[in-house]
């Protein structure tokens, strides 16, 4: 390396140093520190005492941890495909050349601009068992069903009934699909028009074109959105926290991993235990992301790369 190259490298490093320092101080250090704290009895205000794997052993036998893991997995399992389906369908619909297309795109994007806390408060009322709009909309349909089949179906008490609380949160999450729709739309506009024209000449219909042209071309965008949803849903916290007024729902049905971590860190003074939950959550997310990458690498089209 010449002297000039060395100097250039030093200058380059210096220019990226704000980011590097930020990354080391605000990301690497907290991660390593969490790893250390997860092996300590640590209340934040008293010195951490090394306890080895005790926190992890406790986690393995803690029913609340397993419940939080189950709730998180349930939420992710249903929320990710539902979000994918709704956002992709909306993007495809909004990609049609229809009048006032820009207006529709804006309208569907607008809800994602609502801050998460406001969204949660709004849906708290939408899902209210007695006065909520959702149940008022459901009542006529259930009335018809009851009349036809002689059943006794009643609208659920979404946020006060453990059987329905997670579904309430899943539906609330759909309100914020606007961001994903915008990303899908950008992907859809990248699909070369000549491919559709060729398919038209070959007599392909809408579904064939969607399956054989659109999906393969936008597969990197779908992959990106799925990974981001995976990370987001496994870290779900703010919406259920606000909707339960800082609690964890009826019969702990809304106790998610991030909620349990927060409770241990800030309510129960068990920062060491909270860090252990954080480490486990980190490992789960990284493993699932790796798995998703492995499973999908043969199905993602990177324009010949």
């Amino acid at each position: 390396m010449t002297r000039k190259e060395r100097r250039d490298r030093r200058t380059g490093l210096l220019f990226i140093s704000p980011w590097l320092i930020g990354f080391l101080v605000l990301c690497v250090y907290p991660v390593l520190s969490s790893l250390w704290c997860s092996m300590c009895d640590y209340s934040v205000l008293t010195p951490a005492v090394f306890t080895g794997a005790a926190n992890y052993r406790d986690l393995a036998t803690d029913p609340l941890f397993w419940q939080s893991l189950y709730n998180t997995a349930f939420f992710a399992f249903f929320s990710i495909p539902l979000n994918l389906l709704v956002s992709l369908s909306l993007a495809i619909l909004l990609n049609f050349k229809i009048p006032a297309r820009g207006l529709f795109r804006t309208v569907f994007f607008l809800p994602s601009l609502v801050p998460m806390v406001c969204l949660a408060v709004l849906w708290q009322w939408m899902l209210n068992g007695e006065l909520g709009l959702i149940n008022n909309a459901l009542k006529p349909f259930l009335g018809v069903a009851n009349h036809l089949f002689g059943s006794h179906l009643q609208p659920p008490n979404w946020l006060l009934d453990a059987r329905f609380a997670k579904w309430g949160i899943i539906f609330t999450g759909l309100w914020g699909v606007g961001n994903a729709v915008v990303i899908y739309l950008a992907g859809l506009q990248e699909v070369p028009a000549y491919l559709y024209e060729s398919a038209d000449i070959d007599g392909a219909g809408f579904w064939r074109k969607t399956w054989h042209i659109t999906f393969p071309i936008i597969s990197p965008v779908i992959y990106f959105n799925v990974i981001m949803s995976l990370i987001g849903t496994l870290q779900v916290f703010a919406i259920p926290y606000v909707m339960t007024n800082g609690g964890d729902g009826p019969d702990r049905s809304l106790l998610f991993m991030a909620t349990y971590l927060y409770q241990n860190a800030f309510d129960y003074w068990n920062m060491g235990y909270a860090c252990a939950i954080g480490v486990v959550l980190f490992l789960i997310i990284i493993s699932l992301t790796w798995l998703a990458t492995k499973l999908s690498e043969k199905h993602i089209y990177y324009a010949g790369k």
Binding site: T11, L14, N128, E130, L160, D251
Partner: protein
């Protein structure tokens, strides 16, 4: 032209930025600036600000800056851990034990003794709440006690004497039956009483059945016979009214701090509330709302008379405060009878001091304020156990009550579950304390 190298620019920027990060030292003879955090907002904050302003005007050595801080229980912990706590903080009484055992507070014993502040000046229960592990950690600011409050108009409509509230749980349920109304479709229109309204104290229902949640030494008592009796009373609700009916009824409750509060709309005729309820009534209840306040019924009024849950806002000096002497001077000012009465009158609460002027009661807008004071002075005034795992324990008890309420578990299973888990956590906390105690007690004794 020779340009400076980037590294030189960075160093220059750092050199310029550093002094800006440091707080300039006050000039000699200037006032000491005290940072005071409290959780109050609105008129409650205004009441404290008035006292702070009086203090600032009363002398020229100390200046107190009041800041309203939400979630003070979390933020104070983080600020103390970060080495930048406020000089004075207003905390909830349940925070004292966990903050003290984590060495996050300054013991006040010596400063209080020097200022001749003694136990005898206070309603005893509030002084006891300020003590933990043999040390004084706080002094009361505004206290509260809970009572049964009832809607006199609904009592009259149901053929009950509006001036005779129920005294026992059995009477409460008899009244409940008379006051409860059903709709033709089988749903609940209004109820005489529902334990989940307002739903703040689910973990402590045992108090009105003679229970405690801790034996005072080494064992929790979540599944004591008295707690079981209390939870069986809770369990009787879904059995009598139906889980779905109760949940639908609850879903229709409006915000408690609004005119949609079910107590004000007539959907619930009786509830347990704290002394602050007067403020809600004044602001949100209809103009012709008639109410009363009395001790909440107990399972056996002959044995358990005037049982009340007492809570308290307390002033503390966080560990690491830069001006603890000045901070105590401010606390001492607040604790004087005149200033305390001004604060408590402003917040429409009662004074924690034993000595209270006749003028305070004359000016007080709450017509039942003396009932709340009497409850705080009662021998059966009780408070949440001063345990470092209390938030977790109460959270778990609340969840157990919720499971019972929604028919997910029966009383015995739910309470056994809590007892088993929380006893284990409690023992771990005791082990943590045993490890820390020698060094901490030596440090506190020297402070």
């Amino acid at each position: 032209m020779h340009f400076p190298r980037p590294i030189h620019l960075c160093l220059l920027a750092a050199a310029l930025a550093l002094p800006a990060c440091q707080k300039p030292a006050p000039p000699p003879g200037a006032r000491v600036e005290l940072e005071y955090w409290d959780k109050w907002t609105g008129f409650e904050a205004d009441a404290m600000r008035a006292v702070v302003d009086d203090f600032n005007a009363s002398q020229d050595r100390i200046h107190v800056n009041y800041s309203s801080i939400s979630q003070i229980d979390h933020k104070l912990m983080l600020a103390t851990a970060g080495g930048v706590p406020p000089d004075v903080a207003g905390v909830y009484s349940w925070m004292l034990s966990v903050y003290a055992e984590n060495n996050a507070l300054t013991p006040l014993d010596r400063m209080a003794a020097a200022a001749r502040i003694t136990r005898g000046q206070y309603i005893d229960v509030f002084w006891r709440m300020c003590m933990h592990q043999g040390h004084l950690w706080a002094l009361p600011s505004t206290p509260s006690s809970t009572a049964l409050i009832w809607n006199k108009k609904l009592f009259r409509q149901a053929g009950l004497d509006p001036n005779q509230p129920p005294r026992s749980i059995a009477e409460l349920e008899a009244f409940n039956q008379k006051l409860t109304k059903w709709r033709p479709d089988g749903s609940l229109q209004s109820m005489g009483y529902i334990p989940e309204m307002p739903g703040y104290w689910d973990s402590l229902w045992g108090l009105w059945f003679g229970a405690s949640l801790w034996n005072g030494r080494d064992a929790l008592t979540a599944n004591s016979p008295e707690n079981i009796a209390a939870c069986q009373w809770i369990e009787s609700y879904p059995k009598r009214f139906g889980v779905r009916n109760l949940l639908m009824f609850q879903a229709g409750f409006g915000n408690l701090a609004s005119p949609q509060n079910p107590f004000f709309t007539g959907r619930v005729a009786m509830e347990m509330e704290g002394v602050w309820v007067y403020n809600y009534i004044k602001n949100y209840a209809p103009a012709d709302f008639e109410w009363g306040a009395a001790p909440f019924p107990t399972v056996d009024p002959a044995r358990l008379k005037d049982v009340a849950l007492v809570e308290m806002d307390a002033l503390v000096i966080p560990a690491g405060s830069k001006h603890s002497a000045e901070a105590f001077e401010f606390i001492q000012y607040v604790e004087s009878q005149k200033n305390m009465e001004k604060l408590c009158l402003g917040q429409r609460k009662f004074s924690p001091l034993l000595e209270c002027s006749a003028e305070f009661y004359q000016k007080h807008p709450n017509p039942y304020i003396s009932n709340f004071v009497a409850l705080a002075k009662s021998a059966n005034a009780r408070y949440a156990p001063p345990l470092t795992n209390w938030t977790q324990y109460s959270h778990d008890m609340n969840n157990a009550v919720n499971r019972i309420w929604t028919g997910k578990a029966d009383t015995l299973d739910a309470l056994d579950d809590v007892q088993q888990r929380e006893q284990q956590i409690f023992e771990r906390r005791m082990a943590r304390w045993q490890r820390l105690a020698p060094a901490l007690t030596a440090q506190w004794n020297n402070q």
